[in-house]
Amino acid sequence: MTENTKVAAGVWLIAIAFAFLLPVICSYDKYILHVGITIAFNIALATSMWLIWTLGFISFAHAGFMGIGAYTSALLFTGLGWSLWVNMWLAAAVAGLMAFVISIPLMRTRAVYFFMASWAVGEVIKRVFAYYRGIFGGWDGIFNIQPPKLVLPGLNIDFSSRVAYYYLALVCCGLIVYVIHRIVRSRTGMIYWSIHESEILAQHVGINVLKHKVIAFSTACALAGVTGALYAHYHTYINPKTFDIWQSEFSLVHIIVGGLNTLNGPVLGATLLTVVDELLRPTGWYRVIFFGVVVILTVLFLPGGLETVPARLRALVGKWRKRSD
């Protein structure tokens, strides 16, 4: 067990080092940095969605809350001229607060009903953005959301530079993953998984299940909100379609293919599949078909996702060794 944790820590260190050196490795290639930024966003979205899964739920409203963050930040920028540095926190607050209000009735539903109710919430969020043209710009969305500048004595960074934004996305999404990591490995995380395992037993050892569900959901949505703000100031343009059910579905694909049991799963899934997605982009609709096939094959033949591959291989090698002895 500890041996495996050491290996995992090693892999994580290498991955982080690689992520930090990527701009140098790819000699500041703009496209590769763009893919890197997209990976960072997808990781943040998938891991925060996975945080809700630790309680046994999958929320299809997740991209909607990313949208709430994005629109909050965008409107504060275009309306009041506030920069991302401030908006980011407000985006988290607004998304988290909306999630908090909605989750009180939402979390009373269970299993299939939760799935459908969250799905309805996601659609309503999108349609509200689309319907109120005066505020949210309708289907056309909001334009001209500028990246921030950082002006400190002796330091002047303009984040409209791709490299600078890459590091910003990397650090922010890294922090999001780190926060989730801390939650999951604390007693809070243990409570979440215990609710996943048996809600009724969790209640009967004195855990206020509804309270924990509401807190977890709001936290995850606040983190999605930050991701949304970062997304908006990077793309400089957002519209309701960016945050519809499809986005949530793709995050779910990332989680399922990467793995459902530990935080490594969504990180792995989001990274790999974003790269594959970019490679297959020229194939158009075939790439969506590919994702469909991958998700079905994973569920049928590799339940638990890619993160279980090392353990499976080890078991296989062990069996093979035993046979050859």
Binding site: V179, R182, I183, S186, R187, T188, M190, I191, W193, S194, E197, S198, I200, L201, A202, Q203, H204, V205, G206, I207, N208, V209, I215
Partner: protein
């Protein structure tokens, strides 16, 4: 001293009256047996006491406080802890982790403390683990601490269910058929454990079909049929009761 008192309690599901004008009380320190034919409303009563269902009418008081409308986590906090008829565990957790969750109520948990992993949190987690291991030893499960709960043999899974409940430090422990599916040795072990738990000062209510167990360890027995109390008394009195024999049609009752 009265610990739990139930007065003219009714529980209705649609047209079905699962509990019908039931009333009795349980004294501190006793082992109270709850028997009756299948579908008599025994488990429903546990569900109402522990807060899974809100009673349709009537009152339940625990240590003088009305608890009828409280949710399970609140009744647990007051000191009423239950086990389940079907084995209910955190199956994919290790036995120790099951116990750590069981300790939740008295674990000094705080969200921010857990997130920041403060020195205080680390110390209380150490205390929790000590307590968890102590209860495992008490329940005779020490050797299984690192096994997955799902992999335990049946009898030990039942014992773990009781152990988790004990971790919540109950004053009143509701045991729902703790000996179901056990062989004679395992049953004997469980009976010993129940006695040991009582010796710790815990009041116990016990639903059990095995009449030998019920007659052997209960101080007093309440018999329920169609959601109503039909008899109450010491095991010797219940053994002689006409109504009880009628309810059971003489069958599994005479066997004991």
């Amino acid at each position: 001293m009265q610990l739990l008192s139930i007065n003219s309690l009714n529980m209705q599901f649609g047209g079905l009256k699962a509990i019908n004008d039931l009333g009795f009380s349980v004294d501190q320190g006793e082992i109270r047996g709850l028997i009756g034919p299948n579908g008599a409303g025994k488990t429903t009563l546990f569900n109402v006491i522990s807060g899974v269902y809100k009673p349709s009418k009537g009152s339940i008081t625990f240590k003088g406080q009305e608890i009828g409308t409280l949710k399970p986590h609140r009744t647990t906090r007051l000191g009423i802890v239950r086990t389940f008829q079907s084995i209910t565990l955190f199956k994919n957790f290790t036995v120790l982790k099951n116990m750590m969750v069981g300790c939740h109520l008295h674990s000094n948990y705080s969200y921010w403390g857990a997130l920041l992993n403060t020195a205080k949190t680390r110390n209380s987690e150490k205390d929790n683990e000590r307590k968890a291991r102590e209860i495992l030893e008490f329940m005779g499960l020490t050797g299984y601490a690192d096994d997955l709960a799902a992999n335990l043999p049946h009898g030990h899974q039942r014992a773990l269910g009781v152990a988790i409940a004990m971790a919540a430090e109950p004053e009143l422990l509701l045991l729902d058929e703790p000996c179901t599916g056990m062989n004679t040795d395992e049953t004997e072990e469980m009976v010993g454990l129940i006695n040991k738990i009582r010796d710790r000062g815990v009041t116990i209510m016990l639903i059990e079909h095995d009449m030998k167990v019920v007659m052997g360890i209960c101080d007093k027995i309440t018999v329920i049929n169609f959601g109503t109390k039909i008899a109450e008394g010491t095991p010797a009195e219940i053994r002689k009761d006409e109504l009880v024999h009628e309810a059971y049609l003489g069958s599994d009752f005479d066997a004991a």
